[in-house]
């Protein structure tokens, strides 16, 4: 039926017979051809003059996605995000043990006149960088605690009216699971500490 309708709509010009406009009915998603839509929209009869895509035009539209697909696939098997936007889709990809621990990295600062370090928001608006960014290079930050200076500087610049922190503390809370249920209180450990200059 669709094919019959198409022929009726496009048979005025022999050029229209070249490529198969039935492809239109396979158009992305809608499942309706351009001619159907034109009719339903009250538009005049659609154009029938057909200009085929050139071989070059078709060729690069096949080759480039094919290369991108290969890169994306390699990104998965190499487990690398280096090829962004065609990197590995690793978010939440790692299995977690129902009897393991749930770790969460935190950032604290010791301010003058305060007895205990204060927990800061681990986000770009507070310390200039998101928790996920730091967790993705956690070993580097632990090995080079001077990187915490950068977070202290960001905090000072982003909070000019707040007191300047004396010490930055990178910490981790760990919650033990048993059969998927939390057991006891989270334990906190210090991963790195830096005296702010």
């Amino acid at each position: 039926m669709e094919e019959k309708k198409r022929r009726l709509l496009t048979s005025q010009d022999p050029a229209a017979q070249g490529p198969d406009p039935a492809g239109a009915s396979d158009g992305p998603g809608a499942g309706e051809s351009a001619t159907d839509i034109a009719r339903s929209a009250g538009a005049p009869k659609p154009a029938t003059r057909v200009k085929p895509l050139s071989k070059v035009s078709v060729g690069w539209r096949i080759v480039v996605p094919a290369i991108a697909f290969v890169i994306l696939t390699c990104g998965q098997f190499l487990n690398t995000n280096d090829f962004f936007p065609l990197g590995s889709l690793t978010q939440y990809a790692t299995a977690k043990d129902l009897n393991g621990t749930v770790n969460s990295t935190c950032i604290e600062a010791q301010f003058p006149g305060e007895d205990e370090p204060r927990r800061l928001g681990f986000n770009a608006a507070t310390v200039g960088i998101e928790r996920g960014d730091v967790e993705s290079q956690l070993d580097r930050v632990i090995a080079h605690p001077e990187l915490l200076q950068s977070m202290a500087d960001s905090y000072i610049r982003l909070h000019p009216d707040e007191p300047k922190p004396e010490t930055m503390i990178l910490c981790r809370t760990a919650t033990q699971l048993k059969n998927g249920l939390a057991v006891g209180e989270p334990e906190q450990t210090t991963l790195a500490k830096w005296e702010v200059r």
């Binding site: 809608a30 005049p44 895509l53 770009a124």
Partner: protein, 294 residues
């Protein structure tokens, strides 16, 4: 091509005759692209101001810069605060021009390049979010279409079909390859499905209302299996039509709404690209399409 902008005078491009190519670059109305383009370019403005708005803050923390491969290849340095502010301004201006359909190819490429640079600076500081894959690809394929106007409801274009197909494939691969990655990263996919990933996510960033679900690990494991199944089946959406397609799109919308409410994970950059599956030209008011003139 005639300079008189009428529907009748606008030539239709032919889709290739090969069945695969007809699927790969189908003819779709250019008006669909005109609407999709507005969605994408306006969303890019929202994205750079909110979701990926950490680039200006990254100007304060250059020591954390971990450039991605292409950024290293192009010797793109860490961003400064001023550089980020200039880049932000450019993206907003270019996106407004592109959304308005002004100098479509030029403004589209300007958005693609500036937004691409922005992506290097939001993703190049350690954590790489994969919800932006389809959006970045949309930004780069849209300028290849050329001129597309709201009145082009009856003008079919294989170029437009190819671009939308690329976005669609990017969307479904975002889900399908995440299953592949779960398999690779876990060694055995059942370990992932029977594990504590959602528990882990809820404990780290769950909303208060969703915390009671931590007492129901069996339900969360069932949700993990369900996630695996629909992510694995996501490529089927490429072949669905009409109500089945709309149902599938609605299902993914609801899934992302739920993860947003429970975990604060909205996946909006991918969600907006689901629009590439829809007959967006139906949103064009008839007064723009019925006269055949500008």
């Amino acid at each position: 091509m005639s300079s008189v902008p009428t529907l009748r005078s606008t030539p239709t491009e032919a889709a290739p005759t090969n069945p695969f190519l007809r699927w790969f670059m189908p003819e779709v109305p250019l008006a669909r692209v005109a609407v999709f383009r507005v969605f994408i370019y306006l969303f890019i403005i929202i994205d750079v101001l909110t979701i990926s708005g950490d680039v200006i803050a990254h100007g304060w923390t250059p020591e954390f810069y971990q450039p991605l491969w292409l950024a290293r290849f192009l010797h793109i340095p860490a961003v400064s605060v001023l550089g980020a502010q200039i880049l932000l301004t450019l993206i907003i201006v270019f996106s407004l021009l592109a959304a308005a359909g002004f100098l479509q190819r030029l403004s589209g490429w300007a958005v693609a390049l500036s937004f691409g640079a922005w992506m290097f600076y939001t993703q190049g500081y350690g954590y790489v979010a994969h919800d932006h894959m389809a959006l970045v690809i949309a930004a780069f394929v849209l300028p290849t279409i050329g001129t597309a106007r709201f009145r082009d409801v009856g003008t079919a274009s294989a170029r437009a079909g190819w671009a939308l197909r690329m976005v669609q494939i990017s969307v479904v691969l975002t889900y399908f390859y995440s299953v592949v990655m779960k398999w690779i990263a876990s060694g055995n996919i059942t370990h992932w499905a029977n594990g504590a990933v959602i528990i882990w996510a809820l404990m780290r960033r769950g909303a208060e209302w969703s915390k009671p679900f931590l007492e129901l690990p069996g339900l969360l494991i069932a949700a993990q299996w369900a996630t695996l199944v629909f992510e694995f089946l996501s490529p089927v959406v490429l072949f669905l039509k009409r109500k089945w397609l709309y149902g599938a799109v609605a299902f993914f919308f609801l899934f992302h709404l739920m993860t947003y409410l429970a975990l604060g994970i909205h996946f909006l950059p991918t969600v907006i690209c689901w629009a590439a599956f829809l007959p967006l030209e139906k949103l064009v008011p008839k007064r723009f399409t019925s006269t055949g003139t500008a």
